[in-house]
């Protein structure tokens, strides 16, 4: 199966800001943050179409999100808005600073055709089962 | 609250001419009264003790953005002194940048009941007041920074003293400030381009005014307005060897200004030690104290406070941005700079005064020399410019140095002898008595601030009293450690008729009030100023004019001094 290894950056976006002010359980919020953006060349190598689900995996966890291609993202890098989806990929280690590293971690992205992205309610249920 | 009688103590109340007499102090409803009903009164036996009005500190950085930067940037400082919470008191940490509750408790433990924060940037006045509200027990107030304010510079440039007057009145009210503070006039504005001024006649960029013009204009209007305190001046060239000349020149510049009714003074020079340096550079540094003292002795329009140096690790913080940059470069210590748009700046740099550092030793001597060489203690207020010269916790030590030549000598013996020779301290035999201590820590600062009900124990004064466990009749200067101990932990501190500390322990935790000045100007001036503010504010500020003044919510307990100004400028 096709897979790319990229450096993931997470950050704020306007859509995420607008969405969270409507509410964390709103469609707008969920849509705004459950996405990964890749450089078109990396995107193409996955052989998927715009908005299709991919599995993103780091050393600390994995998550299913939809995938888009973006000219703004350099090759070998990826972008995700802050939120519960991205946070499944980060380590809680802060190296004695209090701050976990939320930018610049290595992740593997692979196509996950047919798999469904979890909703916020499903993410919560998953946590409840812990 | 029960009435209070303090009996058998030796009372020092210089404003009322009481010098160690044994008589009773009666307090009812928070005020000193002639006599209360003995049957219902709580009686404090102050036998063999000193009774004084509650201490008044007119210059101590206790609240606002600067001290808070100091707190935030110096976690290592707080480890030295901690106060766990009790059922009565909140937790706190010291040392040079103490937390707010800690500040209130420690001042009260030393018998202080009134303290003024001397540098409030108008734009962050709300911050100052929020912190003042979290300083328990003591009464307090804050001085508004004006010496580098855009509107001040503009009106000084246009020589429109009416507008200046209106603006000063407006700004004091908008910030709920108590006095006009000037820090390195012009120099802080120039610092916003990375520069400074070197003397009274340097030009301020873009405004074409000089520090001299700023000082004299503000002083003149200050007196015209009849503000309770004179201008509170941090001179140019602070910390620069040879700066005594600038200091005297600054004081001279306001010599001819007519003081407000009932007083002779028109300027208070703050932490004078830092501005009394003689010599061409740090290596050739010597004391300029005698020159300053000579001038102060010969003139009645100036008062000073000490800015006494303590040998310890402390944190320097001033509104003088360029000086703090200089200090950062001298020491290599960490440096926070914080410029405030249109009006002020600030810098914070940790600093350790060391006995083995020749310059520090000379600075230490200068503070004491000033106090001892100025003949009239009414011209002196005791400060360490907390925390610049050292934390206020060391006031008892300063008292012991002033009261005991032996205390001074014991410290001098630990210093480099050649340094002491660059000062006149070793040749000074004067020793303060309890009355003079009461003057420089209570009566004088309170008088200089125009606080009618503070600093004395006459009928009608606030019921703020401190009682120290030292017997003045058999105390000798050689026993300086006793006096240091006594003033470190007051036997009793009484605030507004309530016992707030007993044997150095906190006994009650009331909230003190905040003083501010409500100076009225004519409606015409007021509306002219407002119109000018409206036309300029949006272009140059990032906060709207309506959101700028401090709202009443920030002064839950306050006392405004209302001033009607009769005199007009011609």
């Amino acid at each position: 199966m096709n897979e790319v290894v990229v450096t993931l950056i997470s950050a704020r976006t306007i859509e995420q800001g607008i969405g969270l002010e409507i509410g964390k359980t709103s469609e707008q919020y969920q849509n705004s943050v459950s996405v990964i953006e890749l450089n078109p060349s990396d995107f193409e190598s996955l052989e998927i179409s715009e908005g299709e689900t991919v599995e993103v995996e780091s050393d600390y966890g994995s998550v299913l999100v939809k995938c888009r291609s973006s000219q703004d993202v350099p090759k070998g890098r990826a972008f995700m808005p802050y939120g519960p989806w991205a946070n499944k990929l980060f380590s809680s280690s802060t190296r004695c600073s209090g701050m976990p590293q939320l930018k610049g971690i290595k992740v593997r992205v692979k196509a996950a055709k047919g798999l469904k992205m979890p909703s916020i309610v499903e993410l919560i249920d998953e946590l409840r089962r812990l | 609250m029960a009435d209070l009688i303090i009996k058998n103590g030796y009372v020092y109340d210089p404003l009322n001419g009481v010098d160690g007499e044994k008589y009773e102090i009666h307090i009812s409803k928070g005020k000193i009264v002639d006599e209360v009903d003995r049957r219902d009164a709580k009686i404090i036996d102050a036998s063999n003790m000193v009774v004084m009005p509650g201490g008044v500190d007119l210059h101590s950085h206790i609240a606002g953005s600067k001290i808070n930067i100091g707190r935030a940037m110096r976690p290592e400082d707080h480890r030295k002194d901690v106060m766990p919470r009790t059922s009565l008191t909140r937790a706190g940490v010291g040392y040079s940048c103490p937390s707010t509750f800690f500040t209130g408790y420690r001042y009260a433990q030393m018998g202080y009941t009134t303290v003024f924060e001397p540098a409030m940037p108008p734009l962050s006045a709300r911050h100052v007041h929020e912190e003042l509200n979290d300083i328990p027990i003591i009464d307090k107030g804050a001085f508004t920074l004006m010496g580098n304010n855009y509107f001040v510079l503009k009106y000084v440039k246009s020589k429109d003293l009416n507008m200046l007057k209106g603006f000063m009145a407006w700004l004091l009210k908008a910030t709920r400030g108590y006095a006009v503070k000037i820090v390195n006039p012009g120099g802080v504005e120039n610092w916003k381009w990375g520069k400074n001024v070197g003397g009274l006649d340097d030009l301020v960029y873009n405004f074409e005014v000089t520090p001299r013009e700023i000082i004299t204009s503000l002083a003149k209007v200050n007196e015209e307005l009849g503000l309770p305190h004179t201008i509170h001046l941090h001179c140019n060239n602070l910390g620069v060897p040879g700066n005594w000349e600038t200091t005297i020149e600054s004081i001279k510049s306001v010599e001819s200004i007519k003081p407000s009714e009932g007083r002779t003074r028109v300027v208070h020079v703050v932490h004078c030690q830092f501005n009394a340096l003689d010599g061409e550079n740090w290596v050739k540094l010597k004391s300029g104290a005698c020159k300053i003292a000579k001038y102060v002795n010969e003139h009645n329009h100036v008062t000073i406070d000490l800015g006494q140096v303590i040998f310890t690790d402390t944190t320097t913080m001033t509104g003088d941005g360029p000086w703090q940059f200089r200090l950062h470069n001298l020491t290599g210590n960490k440096w926070v700079n914080s410029d405030v748009e249109m009006e002020a700046g600030a810098g914070v740099v940790p600093y350790t005064f060391r006995k083995e550092n020749p310059a520090n030793a000379i600075q230490w001597a200068i503070g004491l020399e000033l106090a001892l060489m100025v003949h009239d203690p009414w011209k002196i207020s005791m400060t360490t410019d907390h925390p610049n010269g050292g934390p206020f916790l060391y006031y008892p030590k300063v008292i012991s140095w002033l009261m005991s030549r032996k205390a001074r000598t014991d410290t001098m013996l630990e210093l480099n002898r050649s340094c002491i020779k660059k000062t006149g301290l070793a040749g000074i035999y004067r020793e303060y008595d309890f009355n003079e201590i009461a003057i420089i820590t209570r009566a004088a600062p309170s008088m200089l601030l125009g606080l009618k009900n503070k600093g004395h124990l006459g009928v009608g004064a606030d019921g703020d009293v401190s009682i120290f466990n030292v017997n003045p009749t058999d105390w000798k200067p050689s026993m300086y450690r006793d006096v240091e101990n006594a003033f470190s932990r007051a036997a009793f501190t009484i605030k507004k008729g309530e016992i707030v500390t007993k044997n150095g322990e906190i006994a009650a935790n009331p909230l003190g009030k905040t003083f501010w000045v409500d100076a009225k100007v004519s409606e015409k001036i007021e509306s002219d100023v407002l119109e000018d503010l409206r036309s300029e504010f949006k272009r140059i500020y990032t906060v709207s004019l309506n959101n700028y003044p401090v709202q009443d919510a920030y002064l839950p307990l306050s006392e405004s001094v209302e001033i009607q100004t009769g005199r007009c400028l011609s």
């Binding site: 190296r95 | 976690p75 290592e76």
Partner: protein
Amino acid sequence: MEVFLKPKVKPLIPVEAEVLTPDRFAGMKLSEIEGLPVYVGNRVEKLSDYFELEGSISEKPADQQITILGDASRIKYIGYGMTAGRILVEGGAGMHLGSHMSGGEIVVKGNASDWAGAEMSGGLISILGNTGDLLGSAYRGSREGMTGGCIIVKGNAGIESGIFMRRGTIVVEGEIGSFAGAHMNGGAIFIFGKASRGVGAEMRGNGSMIVCFKGVDSLLPTFIYNTIYKPNFMRIYLKFLFNTLKIDKAGEYFETPFKRYVGDAAVGGDGEIFIAET
């Protein structure tokens, strides 16, 4: 004389036990030591709630050994501020091991957590396993990190080891995390494993030296290459490590040439980084 502490439980909330020093124990009765306070969350509990104690107590700290028979990885401040004597931890040790110590010796057979030897001024800490971050460092805000003494780590060390170091010696036989010796202003760090990114960052000088025997992940561009040579003092240092501190690996480098870099130029520093040329 030796006193043995056998851990009773593995605490969920870390136990702050700065009482675990020969200084505190010396001259006390065993029953008194059992009653010494430890801080667990917001409660004050007794040392005996967490350890079974037996053994003998000396009059002077210098004659006292404290041996913890097991894992103490949730016990903080072991050896805090100690001036003399010896502590042996058979298992791991929690945060702040030997912080502010000025004398004596601590040996940890397992791993030690973060801030081991922080702001220490004297004595010897040997950690046979790995250690966490900020080894021999300054606490946040302080610019006086380690001011004396010696720390030896047989395993790996974490990030910002020796930050704001002023004097003393740190030896790491394994790998070391990024920004080792940042803000260093005196002292020496020997790294026998691979050094990571940022080694010596903002190093000021004052004789400070970092020696990397297995190369550096990426040396900062602000360390300026100077020369390659076999410094005499390095030989003396290595002999000291080999003979006195029993660092066997030091023996492999007696004849090795070193590349010398000076920096950190970003702060106008004249500290030295030596990288073994093997």
